[in-house]
């Protein structure tokens, strides 16, 4: 499966949803739970099936103003690809 395109709309896959507590949010999926921190959480919270990959990148590039925008894009793309492989995200 290819990496996400600018127009892709990432979303949690069927049967995957948010859980855990306010302070310790996790994504629950069959037989497991993904503990999230910082950037990971910020990315996944934006994977609502509405925002495009391009929009998510732009929002986060704004947040992390000083970091190389190309690196941000690469890292997030890899992150989403890994989750797609595990069938936690669709795009």
């Amino acid at each position: 499966m290819a990496p996400p395109q600018d127009s892709s709309q990432p979303r949690l896959a069927a049967g995957c949803r948010w859980g855990g507590s306010e302070i310790s949010r996790v994504v629950l999926y069959p037989e497991g739970a993904l503990k999230l921190q910082g950037t990971g959480q910020q990315v996944l919270e934006r994977c609502d099936g509405q925002r495009t990959f391009g929009e998510i990148i732009a929002e986060l590039q704004n947040e992390f103003g000083t970091t190389d925008p190309v690196k941000i894009r690469d890292d997030i793309s890899k992150f989403l690809e890994q989750l797609q492989h595990k069938r936690i995200i669709d795009y």
Binding site: A14, G15, E31, R87
Partner: protein, 377 residues
Amino acid sequence: MVPNPLALIAEVTHRCPLHCVYCSNPLQLASATSELSTEEWVSIFQQASKLGMLHAHFTGGEPLARQDLTELIASARAAGLYTNLITSGIGLVEPRLQALVAAGLDHIQVSFQDSREGPANWIAGAKAHTHKIELSHAIRRHKVAFTVNLVVHRQNLDHLDEMIAFIEQLNPERVEIAHAQYYGWALKNRAALMPTRAQLERAVEVVTAAEKRLAGRIRIDSVVPDYYAKYPKACMGGWGRRLMLINPAGKVLPCHAAEVIPGLEFENVREKTLAWIWWESASFRRFRGEDWMPEPCRSCDRRAEDFGGCRCQALLLTGDAGATDPACSLAPKHHLVEAAALAANEDLVIAEPAGAPSFVQLQRETAELWQYRTNPE
């Protein structure tokens, strides 16, 4: 540091319409009249959530045999738990599936015994295969995660690639290639279930190829059976570290087989709270930490990784629940597992006759091969 438990295994009944020869339920099954009530389970889910658990796994026997299953799933979901249903699918038609999904079922895992109808029914001891296929189609019409659990062993490993191709057609998100584990009925039937080394090596190749082919579409989870591995499995993620199992009568266990261990008093959720049982009970504390470990585990680099393997397997094979799991190549009693492996590899006869044998024909020709799981009184 004892962590909070992550998962509750809700073994809601031991009743089951099938008689699978690889079943890992205890040989002593809980009677139907001893089962916990709906209200008792509701209280359990609330306690489980407060203890920090994230997942509830509904299993059995066959959980669909519980008339109140929809209510149980709804209350587990209301308590904040992610709900997994582990089922044969027998007893599930579309209206009931719809009700379960509407009640908040997150994930359903349906077992398959083979790709071929005759052998599948022969292994399950019932005509179940066609219904499972129909159910799989129905599941895809609903918003719920779907896993196919394919149970593999000596009698079907030779056509693993055919079985995986068959499962692909059902389009689950996930496939578990579940090598039969030798507890309960599966231990009784071990000689008929244990694969040869050659079968296992071939299986690893087939699974690796399938993983590549299905990457991004279907996720495959598969574990090499511990009898052929160098080191033991980290059973349940360690004794009393990850999960609690509650049996149909309310007995709280660290795993489904633990009752085989003599000298351990298991608590009942009707008498004590889940929290007390997790943190304070002697049974849950029994094999936590490292003080109980014998050598070589006590000074082994892997002890925090596999915890010395499975306590129940140590008991079943060596008579001592505190011994190093004989599946470990470093275990003093490793020869017990080696002997079983040797026997499995000497005898290369596979029971299933060629052609397209019917369920009835297979049963007739293999009456001495194994014992079918019986139902509780």
